[in-house]
Amino acid sequence: MGNLTSYPKGALEWAAIFLAVAILIMALFGGWFTPYDPLQIDFRGKLQPPSGEHWLGTDGSGRDVLSRLMAGAQLTILSTLVVIAVVLVIGCAIGITSAFVGGWLDNLLMRLADIWLGFPPLILALGFAAALGSSLEAAIWALIFSWWPNYARLSRMITNDILSEPFVAGATALGVPTWRKVVFYVIPNAFDVLIIQVTLDISAVMLAISGLSFIGVGAQIPAPEWGAMIAGGRAHAGSAWWVVMVPGLAIFVTALAFNIIGDMLRRELDPTTRRRA
């Protein structure tokens, strides 16, 4: 019930939602409308400050930063969404199976998830990406590989909660088949919790992908992935601030927008607070 976020009524949240939608649109379609070719090198026009011609300036090889930012949104954000979508499906499949089957399989999978969840995801992904050979695809696989236990744990917990509800026990007594229970009881009830987790994970996965690209195991320079753009611009951080500032701000603003939305969803939808009301 704070003042800053509830008055004026959700201004911060609305700004975040607006930004998130704008960024998603840019990620989907921005690549087609770039003012310049994001990979076009022009050494004579390198490191130009922002101007009417190049709104966000040019980088160390004379490439237009705005064009790279727009094209890079596709790489950074769509890879993030791919990671989360795959992890969501795989994780939930494992978690729901674990809860329904129970017994030793449940024990084994959840112990494994516990252990897995413990290891620092960045370093695990680094190892996996290095093993696969550095590329954006490797980074995506690496993150899928290290992120699934979050969703397995979460979906198993929710499924177990729902399975212990009296109405599901009633359904079992009536002979409702398992797939119907999953589709009609588990998924609708899990939706709220999962959507909160997904929103909050968008920023975490995005930071991880751009971080992997920054250290050279993800997208490779000169690809306009935002982390790789920062890596490429590092040498010019002192003389041409925009080269590092622009992609970094893009990551930061996107992450912040999704964090704010996630925080809002958590406060609005969280079953622990909702049940009490």
């Binding site: 019930m1 704070g2 003042n3 800053l4 976020t5 911060l12 112990r111 494994l112 516990d114 252990i115 897995w116 413990g118 290891f119 620092p120 995801p121 960045l122 370093i123 695990l124 680094l126 190892g127 996996f128 990406a129 290095a130 093993a131 696969l132 050979g133 550095s134 920023s203 975490a204 930071l207 751009s210 971080g211 920054f214 250290i215 050279g216 195991v217 982390g227 920062i230 590092r234 951080a237 002192g238 601030w241 590092v244 500032m245 970094g248 990551i251 930061f252 603003v253 996107t254 992450a255 912040l256 999704f258 964090n259 704010i260 925080d263």
Partner: protein
């Protein structure tokens, strides 16, 4: 006692999974590890020889057992780019990284615990809102970007801190004992070296800690809010205790305990995140070692870092859990 055994067993199981994962990463995922081990310019004969030498013609399980045996003997392979045993490399690179992570953790705790306590006490006020906004912003900061910006502004432009390195040029001859320069400078009675090393640590540690601090504040806040609602706070108030006494004597010790588990996990995560910071600040350490190994396609070097970070992570968590157990009222009452 049963708790300790259970906890140790879980750590042992985790260690086994860790070894198995690193085995998969170094022997299965890359396709032919012999090619990877031989390096980019090796001929077919050398690769074939290596394959036999590495036991790759053996069945999968045998290979895994050989791998476990090697690890038990401390044999993590030979680095492709330093031509040294990887174990020696890591023993040299680990102290500077641990030093960095410890300082980052100190910053993290110094901010998270008091701010978390205060936001819990003033839950719902404008102060709480502002901190929450900062925490959300902090959780969205790319560590490597923050590091570059801090380096550019505080070090390069304003020259408040050294730009890069672990120790000043004038102290390059300083010989460590343990490899932890902060500790070594105290042991050798060199305050000048101590402050020089510390000034090299501030910016990278701060860059490393920001993201974790943002999470730490939230975790601490949640845990403290739960404590403020408990009746022992009411009883303390009824006893006539002031707000300061209630916060620090009563709420804090109880509320800090559950968040310590999270800080224990953060220790390992921070060690992993050194890959994003050390390279930028030109600091030696396992993070920079891992990045170098990646760029040199030295899979064994990378996997060894994965293994060591995982190991430190397991040990840190075990240590925190044991400490909490030793401090728990029941345990203290037994002893």
């Amino acid at each position: 006692m049963a708790y300790i055994l259970q906890r140790v067993a879980f750590s042992a199981l985790s260690l086994f999974v860790l070894v198995f994962i690193t085995f998969l990463l170094s022997h299965v995922v890359p396709g032919d590890p012999a090619i990877a081990a031989a390096g980019p310019n090796a001929g077919a004969e050398k690769i074939a020889a290596l394959r036999t030498e590495m036991g790759l013609d053996e069945p999968f399980v045998t290979q895994f057992l050989i791998y476990c045996g090697n690890i038990l003997q401390g044999d993590l392979g030979t680095s492709w780019f330093t031509h040294q045993p990887i174990l020696d490399d890591l023993l040299r690179e680990l102290p500077p990284s641990l030093e960095l992570v410890v300082i980052a953790m100190v910053i993290n705790l110094a901010i998270s615990l008091p701010v978390g306590l205060l936001t819990a006490r003033y839950n719902g006020t404008t102060f709480d809102d502002i901190v929450r906004l900062f925490a959300m912003a902090g959780a969205g900061l790319p560590i490597f970007w923050t590091a570059i910006l801090l380096q550019q502004s505080f070090a390069a432009d304003w020259q408040l801190f050294p730009v890069a390195g672990r120790i000043g040029f004038e102290y390059r001859a300083f010989e460590g004992i343990t490899g932890f320069y902060l500790l070594d400078s105290i042991l050798r009675g060199r305050p000048d070296v101590f402050f020089d090393v510390l000034s090299h640590l501030i910016l990278p540690a701060f860059a490393l800690s920001l993201l974790f601090t943002a999470v730490g504040v939230r975790i601490t806040r949640t845990s403290m809010i739960g404590e403020f609602r408990k009746d022992y706070v009411t009883l303390a108030r009824a006893k006539g205790a002031g707000e300061g006494r209630i916060m620090f004597r009563h709420v804090f010790p109880n509320g800090a305990t559950p968040s310590l588990t999270v800080f224990g996990m953060q220790f390992g995560w921070m060690l992993g995140a050194t890959v994003l910071v050390e390279e930028i600040f030109g600091r030696p350490g396992i993070g920079r070692y891992a990045v170098k190994a990646v760029t040199q396609s030295d899979i064994h070097g990378v996997v060894a870092v994965v293994f060591v970070v995982g190991l430190v992570f397991l040990l840190a968590n075990l240590a925190v859990d044991m400490t909490l157990y030793a401090l728990s009222p029941r345990k203290r009452a037994e002893g």
